[in-house]
Chain length 696, copies 2
């Protein structure tokens, strides 16, 4: 359900409950901020103890207001909030901002209070921003409904922050760098309205824009509840406007103990990361990335290719820039002969006219100007990076101005790095004033440029927008249901066209020997129990048994394990014998139902290399065959699958089909939480599922 939030974010009338004559009170600051921001609508300060203050008539309560305000701002402590919400509901108010804290963030008791708040909101269909939030601001109206600092510069950036404290830093930084912003919404505990609602509202605005330009959308989020909705709305925005997200919680401390590899590897965070990447969203891993992207998407043009020309008065640092350009997947542009010819004319003989272009330490602004003008016109360059150090002759300010002039004439982005302290500070101020992206250190410039180019490349691509078309296996639901009930994994694998090695339950060595004689050596012995997941870890798997002697030894050992374990389990533990599959490439294919983001498939190197190779790609299902092939081809193990040295390439059709089939099974049988084949052994003629786990 897309909510109607015009009354909230563009109100014609606002009531402030808790408006106060005490300038330190939150309500007073919010009232002041609304007025100072230049708000032109009606204002109704509400405070039962004040009749009039600062030329404004105050009201006793919401009920007594002369009209239904579009928006009510609640700036009173938590204990008074319910009364006010009920009043609002009865009056017919639809949109509310709650500043107060004392809810979910304080623990169990607070959670109860917040649950009650949600109930009232549902009863009266209230759009509530917060509680425990800092409000919102829009410079295009203008309107500042926050109790933060009042100065706000106009810009294009749209920001959502779940944290008020981070918002304070962002506010300050945006103002200092003259970046400004268009909209800033803090969502606090997001009891009712979440980032999804804000994005939906903005998406509506953006898609109605008559004169569209790139509008950067930044988000600081600590949690995402409506994962699928979130991904869907991000997907709508990213083809035209970049969405970059800072979300902490990457560490193990945040990851839950999972039963299978897939569960352990595909923790919440990796799923989030892959889901976002799949729809062109940008995950920021460091706070500085977030600030940097805010800047470049606001000020800078987007490069149409990866080729960077570096222009510098500092040979040394330029070398480092080359390292970074390679590291982050960009390219040093190869200048045309015509450009080189001009550079040869403009520059001293010992200057480097190869890229990085070293103007030498005595370069004045005119040398920068001539070279920059030539380089932006070079058809082989997509972006320009200027690296300046404050040497004896360097004209820091004038060079900054020259860069501004050049930048105004080109569609190619110019990124600047003026490295130093106070000698370059005024140059940076000029760059900020001229809206030229600039950075303290060259690596940050390159990293940011690479991120922007990655987004541009993503949205230029069309394959990402192919519809979800997989459904490669045919399913007899009853048949599969029965197989699931009976733990008949072989049956399930056969539906996926994946072979399973000959297998039998054996009670004695003689039985085992009989199996080996029929099915051939080598064989594998394993304990069979649904309750024991990591059998190998407890000595419950014996591989590569090649003859009678080895079989007797292994059987004795595994029997011992079974006897030792049996007392802890109610079900009898059995011993299974299996033909050992010949050599092939071992991969892992897992599928997991994430509570927030839905079905995800994992692919990577399997068997004993699964953990040491760190080779895991994730993709959400449903998807199309091209995307399935893509995650396989992006894996490290693909190098083996694609043929390596003596080995010819493998036929991977059955692998692709198995990957898709697992997703399909998960979507139909909602009781399955996780499924995993590890190893899935890919040989030249067949694909073998050697170990299969199904977690229900």
């Amino acid at each position: 359900m897309t909510r109607q939030l015009d009354g909230l974010f563009n109100p014609k009338s606002i009531a402030i409950v808790g408006a106060s004559s005490d300038p330190l009170k939150v309500g007073a600051i919010a009232l002041k901020n609304i007025i100072l921001s230049g708000y032109k609508g009606k204002l109704f300060p509400v405070n039962p103890n004040i009749n009039e203050f600062g030329g404004l008539k105050f009201f006793k309560n919401i009920t007594s207001l002369p009209q239904i305000p579009d928006l009510v701002v609640v700036a009173v402590p938590v204990i008074k909030v319910f009364e006010i919400l009920t009043e609002c509901g009865e009056k017919g108010v639809k949109n509310i901002v709650i500043f107060s804290s004392g809810y979910k963030e304080t623990g169990t008791d607070g959670k109860k209070i917040e649950d009650e708040l949600v109930e009232i909101a549902e009863k009266y269909k209230l759009n509530i921003l917060g509680p425990n939030c800092m409000g919102f601001a829009s410079t295009h109206l203008p309107l500042n409904v926050t109790f933060g600092h009042s100065e706000i510069d106009k810009g294009v950036l749209k920001l959502v922050s779940q944290s008020g404290s981070l918002a304070a830093s962002l506010f300050d930084w945006c103002n200092t760098t003259k970046l400004g912003f268009d909209s800033f919404v803090t969502i606090g505990n997001k009891a009712v309205l979440s980032e999804v609602d804000i994005l939906e509202y903005w998406e509506g605005q953006l898609s109605n824009e008559s004169n569209p330009r790139i509008v950067p959308v930044g988000m600081y989020l600590e949690s995402i509840d409506r994962g699928t909705d979130f991904i869907n709305i991000v997907k709508k925005i990213t083809p035209n406007n970049p969405v970059f997200i800072m979300k902490p919680g990457k560490g193990k401390s945040a990851a839950r103990a999972m039963q299978s590899h897939t569960g352990a590897i595909a923790g919440e965070d990796k799923i989030f990361e892959s889901a976002i990447a799949q729809v062109g969203g940008i995950r920021c891993h460091e706070l500085s990335d977030f600030f940097d992207l805010a800047q470049v998407f606001t000020w800078s043009k987007v490069p149409s290719g990866p080729r960077v020309a570096v222009v510098t008065n500092a040979g040394g640092p330029a070398v480092m820039v080359s390292d970074s350009i390679e590291k982050y997947g960009l390219e040093l542009a190869t200048l045309t002969e015509s450009t080189k010819k001009s550079l040869r004319e403009y520059l001293p003989k010992i200057a480097s006219i190869q890229n990085p272009i070293d103007l030498l330490g005595d370069a004045l602004q005119d040398r920068f100007e001539k070279v920059l003008n030539k380089v932006i016109d070079d058809e082989n360059t997509d972006s320009i990076l200027v690296v300046l150090t404050p040497q004896l002759m360097t004209q820091v300010e004038k060079t900054a101005e020259v860069i501004g002039t050049v930048s105004s004439k080109t569609t190619k982005p110019i990124y600047c790095t003026f490295v130093g302290g106070k000698k370059v500070a005024t140059g940076r101020d000029i760059l900020n004033k001229l809206k030229i992206t600039n950075f303290d250190f060259p690596e940050r410039a390159v990293k940011t440029l690479a991120t922007v180019w990655k987004w541009e490349k993503w949205r230029k691509g069309v394959e990402q927008f192919s519809s979800d078309t997989t459904k490669t296996i045919k399913m007899d639901v009853d048949e599969i249901q029965a197989a699931l009930e009976n733990y008949d994994k072989e049956k399930i694998m056969s539906i996926l066209s994946v072979k399973t090695p000959a297998t039998a339950i054996v009670k004695t060595e003689v039985d085992a020997l009989g199996f080996a004689k029929v099915n051939g050596w080598p064989v594998v012995l394993k304990i069979r129990s649904e309750d024991i997941l990591h059998k190998s870890d407890i000595g419950g798997v014996k591989t590569n048994i090649r003859d009678v002697v080895e079989l007797e030894k292994s059987f004795g050992e595994i029997k011992k394990v079974v006897v030792g374990l049996q007392s802890s389990y109610s079900e009898p533990i059995k011993i299974e014998i299996q033909s050992q599959i010949g050599s092939g490439v071992e991969v892992i294919v897992g599928v997991k139902r994430d509570p927030v983001f839905g079905i995800f498939i994992l692919f990577g190197a399997g068997g004993k290399y699964a953990e040491i190779l760190d080779d895991h790609s994730l993709i959400s299902w449903p998807t199309d065959m091209e995307n399935i092939k893509k995650i396989v081809s992006q894996s490290k193990v693909y190098k083996l699958l694609a043929g390596y040295r003596d080995d010819s390439a493998y036929n991977l059709d059955s692998l692709y089909q198995a990957i898709d089939g697992l997703g399909q099974l998960m979507s139909v049988f909602e009781e399955i939480k996780e499924m995993e084949i590890n190893p899935l052994v890919i040989t030249h003629d067949k694909t073998w599922a050697v170990d299969i786990k199904i977690v229900r």
Copy 2:
């Protein structure tokens, strides 16, 4: 040879050739800088066209000076330099700084000029700093012999820079942050004096220090020529003083940029990195790391453990800090119950008294003060990270002052991150003034702290200082020489106690079948030629041949390859048959003679996983057994060797011995450039060299 550089860096008399009355000339600036820096020794300006200027008597030339100056500064163009050097040599001058450019950095002609300069230096035993350098400065004397800017703050930092332009940025930054420095030496083209000489000079000073404190030594280098000397001198410094090095040239494109810049040629970057790490040196990968380390080693105490307490008024960013702490290998401190009890008293009920300690958005300076004082006394904390955002009530300046007061009372480092723009800028200025390390963004603070802790942990360890004691194999030099001449790899392997599979040269299928019958299936067929290195790539290796049918097929195929190739090679190409080794862990052991850093050994996953696993550790040889075990245990493939799931651990003694033995062979037989065993198959009972390469 350690050079006597006291006359260069602490001269009692200085002559400036090219001193000038034109204030824009390099010689004039250098003269001015020497005077303004407060130099107390004798000054002899030299310029044939000036008699007197600015109250100073000028001299016509070096010859006419009334004494031999300790130092001659040459600030004239390259064409006049030789004459001056000869004059200096004849006069008996020993120490010279040359500013002028036009040497090696300009190409082949310049290289010739520089070679001549080196010849003169050798003839007269001159210590020359430069050419193409910016000179040096020492604040403790004080003396500033540069043509850079004149203001220099006193500090403890010692810096070497090969790049003058980077030096300009560092100067500016050190002055702006009030970091200051003790010594700053730019080495330019280092025709005579290199970083090694500077380090040796400093090491002499440092080890004579009566009241030692930590002196950070930072270096920006583009090339290293005397690798072994460099490593040896760094090794002497690092147990007491940190050495951190910025050296670009990690990527291919960077190597290109360097050739066109100073004529430096990129060494093998990974060898450099591993050599430095082995002796406790710190490699900076980004320019910001370099600046950050300069700051923390100058101002901050060194933590005695990895446990960080985070104190913040911003819950959101603190979560990101936790991510970083985990990412960079530090730990979130677990506070004692006593600390928690106090925090509960000091803080509002809803504040988090777990680490990160969230003081809440309305925290004033007193809350910071109380909590910081308690947390620094907690026995479970080794360092404190303060993260502040500028919220409505935040007392930025007062909090900065409080942090300074707390810091002055503790031996634990306090790192600060004030996130924002101008609202926090004054706070940062106060922190700089109080010499409290501070950063724009929390990730940089954590990354830097982790680097410092890594160094501290390294120097606390004793195993790094064990002497080089390996020499595990016994060698009969003549026997090995003969084996090398005869390409008898089996012999060489047997000296290393490494088995080689049964092997024979076969001419016909019948021969091959005979081999298999004697030695057992499966077998491998390969073409045998010293000239063909990547046999697999051309179909010259057939593995896993299990019976007669497969043998006939494979023999036919490989025969075809041999026939096809033969015309291109003069030596007859033979076919080799080999017993195929059973399953085991495949590793690679290589040894290489690096022209700069000496013998290096490489260990990692081998066989087909060698390339996709990216698992290569390097260690210089000679070393001791503990270090050899360490590089094995640090590899990814070690997880398999140490026993994994069904598999028990392997006996690795023969592996360690083989690694050491390869180093020993290289050290004795200098004609060997590289040796490689890949794969070396480690089974539970034996270690098998399956493929051996020796490059001479």
